[in-house]
């Protein structure tokens, strides 16, 4: 039976080529983007699921309250809390902790110096806890000696030609020797963990363990454990510890713990200090919705064409009925056809997905691999897509067509149900609505993105370069390094700072010295040198900059931004004595507000203090010109101080652009979606119009005989589509407006919405539809429909 259906389907596709192309191409485009989006979704959902017992592993987050205001959540905890909980709480089976200490320390291996970023210092059960694969060494033993280190496969490959040869050799890191006791397989891409080497936390100085929330802590709970109960236990235990420990006397120190399942971290955590940039579940949700929308638009095409062409099939249905087919037989047949068409379209879709996957990977910023579809999850997704698409495409046509009365269809009576037509119109409205919604949203998002990227940030971002993560050698001779850099002709000025633009800063309470604690405000605290404001082109509105080399300024001078001055309520700010954690001193200057973070956030109070050395990053302003020779000069200059140092160079404007990567990805994907929705909708209009024109030849002939002009005919045949398009606009606008209003609420600074952004997409649909229908009508008109009357 199935071969029979395949044969008859292929023949009818062959016979009606336009119909076949519109149907299969429309579906294939919709299915193609759905597949790609779902590969992305599967990738995002697969994070950390390779870890043994991932459903029972939780990371301990701390919500720390620092002064007044909202508590801030960070992904780490105090060193002992994990161990106490493992020992005392019956719901916790195992625990592991680790912390960083050096960001990119210099190491010496086989008498050669290099850097080794990403070293973690962990409990000895680190590898067995996560079930990470070791190429050599036993998970339980590799970290049993404190002076041991386990390095990644790629680190080993970087250190030696034969990676496995490095085993038991010694790495020298900051005055200490570590023996390589194991090599672990490089971590896959789909994990929130990131490290290149792991050693034992016994090597860390005590101060890291004694105070502060410095340790990533993971608990493996027993099956069915009470998570809230464990959190409460940790809160209480820490509160007891703080109360009874003289170390915390007089300090406001309150920490609430929150456990997050390791599988949720990638999409739902996104806290400061994460090991790497997380994904966002909103993106996953929005992208999935987009795929559903586009698939719907494609399915609607299929249903519309299938039911519109029902006249052509009416005879066949009638014949089958009188030949003994029951309604069930016919429903099965039409459903089978729809499934086969979807299957055919799916094959085309997979080819399309393969072709576009590289480009799509760039948009989404993750490697998309079509082989994901061969995994269990992937096959399930394909089956689900096939089932849903086949069912939705076939159901209505099947019930509609099989309901035909054979007596009438065999007599050649035209089947023209009002209900069928209404249904088709409703589907077209739905299709247009989705398309207008997607295009309008895209326009708004693009305008907002354009706005934030072109907003005056309060400083001059052009030709500013950031030299990140200087080596220890460079830190120590910082002022000499600066002087040497400034001797390069193209370099205009340089300045040091302890933060990377857009990254995290220290936040602390600032207040006027001698006032109540409550009158303080939370501010970002950034340490800079006297060159920083110059490089950034930030205006000084009052007072002065730090004096170069002034020991006095290092010890006590502070500069605030205007927001901080306002927040503190200073009328005449200069000379006020401020209290900022470990610095107390006079306010020497006020700078104009500038954006230090993405425009998602408002400008916060900012306090600058002064240092002359020990900066991890240099900000450098260059004169316009080619950058390649400048890079060479900078590298040469830095290597005079540290021959092993490879500079880590970033352009400030690129760094700023990175802050809106999520939005740019979403916009790129949405453009693809919008184009597809638009193309598929128009394919549908084309299919329906071609079919209508074909059927209307006789009607047109009669109208022309009776004196109708082409203009009258064009209006007659466009009227329906115009009405449907206008109706779609009326539905799509409020939805798009609400959705975009919601999206924009995520930004502190937004562009004002222009009604044209909603009107134009609607008009675009209306006009494109009219053009297609007019061309078809015109073609039919040119073929002299009066001729057709003679053949009736």
């Amino acid at each position: 039976m199935i071969t029979y259906h395949i044969k008859s389907l292929l023949r009818s596709l062959q016979k009606q080529k336009t119909n076949a192309v519109v149907n299969i191409l429309g579906l294939a485009l919709g299915l193609g983007i759905t597949l790609l989006i779902w590969i992305f979704v599967l990738h995002e959902l697969s994070y950390d699921t390779f870890i043994t017992d991932h459903d029972r592993i939780y990371r301990v987050h701390s919500q720390a309250v620092l002064g007044p205001g909202e508590p801030q959540e960070i992904p780490t905890a105090m060193f002992p809390i994990g161990e106490w909980t493992r020992r005392e709480h019956p719901g916790v089976e195992d625990m592991v902790r680790f912390s960083s200490y050096y960001s990119s320390p210099e190491i010496i291996f086989r008498d050669e110096s290099t850097v080794l970023p990403g070293i973690k210092f962990a409990d000895e059960n680190f590898f067995s806890f996560f079930g990470l694969e070791l190429l050599t060494g036993q998970p339980e033993e590799v970290l049993s000696e404190p002076a041991s280190i386990v390095i990644s496969e790629s680190t080993a490959a970087r250190l030696a030609e034969e990676p496995l040869d490095v085993l038991y050799e010694v790495i020298h890191i900051q005055d200490q020797n570590y023996q390589i006791t194991g090599i672990f397989k490089d971590l896959p891409d789909n994990t929130h963990l990131e490290f290149n080497a792991v050693s034992h936390h016994d090597n860390l100085p005590d101060m890291i363990k004694e105070g502060g929330l410095n340790f990533f802590t993971y608990l493996k709970v027993t099956p069915g454990a009470d998570i809230a109960g464990i959190q409460q236990y940790m809160d209480e235990t820490l509160a007891d510890h703080v109360q009874t420990n003289p170390r915390y006397e007089g300090m406001t120190f309150h920490v609430a713990h929150r456990l997050m399942n390791i599988g949720d971290i990638h999409l739902r955590s996104n806290l400061i200090w994460e090991m790497k940039e997380g994904g966002s579940w909103q993106s996953v949700l929005v992208f999935s919705l987009l795929s559903v929308f586009i698939l719907f638009v494609a399915i609607i095409n299929y249903v519309n064409l299938a039911t519109a062409r029902s006249m052509l099939r009416a005879k066949e249905i009638g014949v089958r009925k009188v030949s003994g087919a029951s309604r069930g037989n016919l429903i099965r047949q039409i459903m089978t056809e729809s499934f086969l068409t979807v299957l055919l379209a799916l094959v085309v879709a997979i080819v399309l997905a393969e072709i576009f996957s590289v480009w799509f990977s760039q948009i989404l910023g993750i490697p998309l691999n079509l082989s994901t579809l061969l995994s269990t999850g992937g096959l399930l997704v394909i089956l689900m897509i096939l089932a849903v698409t086949g069912l939705l495409s076939g159901l209505y046509p099947a019930f509609y067509l099989s309901s035909f009365n054979p007596v009438r269809t065999l007599k050649g009576e035209v089947v023209r149900g009002k209900a069928g037509q209404r249904f088709r119109q409703a589907l077209v409205v739905f299709q247009f609505t989705i398309t207008i919604f997607v295009i309008s949203s895209l326009v708004v998002m693009t305008r907002q993105l354009h706005y934030i990227q072109n907003r005056d940030l309060g400083f001059d971002q052009e030709e500013v370069i950031i030299l990140e993560n200087l080596s220890g050698g460079l830190w120590q001779s910082f002022q000499s390094v600066r002087a040497r850099l400034e001797s390069i002709p193209r370099v205009v000025s340089t300045g040091g700072a302890n933060f990377i633009y857009g990254g995290t800063t220290n936040v602390s309470l600032i207040s006027e010295l001698g006032t109540e604690y409550d009158s303080g405000v939370l501010a970002d605290v950034v340490t800079v040198d006297h060159g920083f404001l110059d490089v950034m082109g930030v205006d000084l509105v009052d007072g002065r900059n730090f004096h170069a080399g002034s020991e006095m300024d290092v010890q006590s001078a502070l500069i605030l931004n205007e927001t901080a001055v306002r927040a503190l309520g200073f009328e005449d700010p200069l000379g006020k004595q401020l209290d900022v954690v470990n610095i107390q001193g006079p306010l020497i200057g006020v700078i104009s507000d500038f954006h230090m973070k993405s425009l998602h956030q408002p400008i916060e109070p900012l306090v600058l203090n002064y240092a002359q050395m020990g900066f991890p990053h240099i900000y450098l302003k260059a004169a316009p010109g080619e950058f390649a020779p400048l890079m060479g000069d900078i590298t040469d200059a830095l290597q005079e101080f540290d021959p092993n140092y490879t500079p880590n160079i970033r352009f400030l404007d690129e760094t700023i652009a990175l802050l809106y990567q999520q939005e740019r990805r979403a916009t790129s994907l949405l453009s693809t979606g919008a184009i597809l929705a638009f193309v598929i909708s128009l394919l549908g209009v084309y299919g329906l119009a071609a079919f209508a024109a074909e059927r209307r030849v006789k009607e047109m002939g009669i109208r022309i005989v009776l004196g109708a002009s082409i203009r009258q005919l064009l209006w007659k045949y466009n009227r329906e589509s115009v009405i449907l398009a206008v109706l779609s606009m009326l539905i799509a606008w409020p939805i798009a407006w609400l959705a975009m209003d919601r999206w924009m609420s995520g930004f502190a600074f937004t562009v004002s919405i222009n009604p044209l952004w909603f009107i134009l997409p609607g008009v675009l649909i209306l006009v494109s539809g009219a053009v297609i229908i007019s061309i078809q009508t015109h073609l039919a008109f040119k073929n002299n429909p009066v001729e057709a009357l003679r053949h009736e």
Partner: protein, 235 residues
């Protein structure tokens, strides 16, 4: 085999009510060849559709193989129809996308025959109707006469008790028309009951009996060509 008692059919649209059949009673015995004649719009096709279980009557009784089927559901009718009735239409009604073989095979598929049985039966019939050499052609590649022959093959392939033919020669020239009539005559001789709607006196002459309809009523039921208003006379 077939018996109708005061069979009526009324079509209603929003404004108009049309009586297509008005209390029609007759009987057809097994093995008969009956022609139904009458002017356009007299109710011939409506009667044939009801007899062919494609439609239900609005009133009266219809006994098919001794069963009262007037109130059968669509499903019950379909079931009864596919086992017992073959159709031949004026415009052939072959499916263009299916080959000759596949068109003829259609009723057997819905009866659940196996592929090998179907092949055997279809070839037998095609052979019998001398159209075997066209088995892989498509309807549009055949002449009208050949198409109708295929349609007859399809009507008889499942060995139905009865064949309903609706103007089977209406779209054919006289030579091809005669050919088809001979086929039907042959089938009747071999025991198949045939009910044929026709305008053609010539075709009707192949039948053993003629039922004449006028305005939804039977006016005469014999081989005579004269109109006798029996219904009126009876009153």
């Amino acid at each position: 085999m077939i018996k109708t008692v005061e069979l009526s059919k009324v079509f209603r649209t929003e404004e108009v009510e049309t009586t297509a059949l008005n209390q029609v009673s007759f009987e057809i015995r097994e093995g008969e060849f009956v022609a139904v004649m009458g002017p356009s719009g007299c109710g011939k096709s409506t009667l044939l559709n009801i007899l062919g279980l494609l439609d239900n009557p609005s009133g009266g009784q219809y006994h098919f193989l001794d069963e009262q089927v007037a109130n059968y559901t669509e499903k019950q009718r379909a079931n009864l129809r596919k086992r017992n009735i073959g159709f031949v239409f004026q415009n052939f009604n072959l499916i263009d996308e299916l080959s000759v073989f596949e068109n003829v095979e259609l009723p057997l598929i819905y009866l659940g025959y196996s592929a090998s049985e179907r092949k055997q039966r279809v070839e037998e019939v095609l052979e019998q109707m001398q159209i075997m050499h066209r088995r892989n052609h498509f309807p549009l590649q055949l002449s009208g006469g050949q198409q109708q022959r295929v349609a007859v093959c399809r009507a008889v392939v499942a060995k139905p008790h009865i064949i309903l033919a609706d103007e089977p020669t209406g779209n054919l020239d006289s030579t091809h028309g005669d050919e088809v009539m001979h086929l039907l005559e042959e089938l009747n001789k071999n025991g198949t009951t045939i009910i044929m709607v026709t305008h053609s006196q010539r075709d009707a002459s192949y039948a053993q009996r003629i039922i004449r309809l006028f305005d939804g009523q039977i006016v005469t039921e014999d081989k005579s060509t004269e109109f006798v208003l029996t219904a009126a006379a009876a009153q």
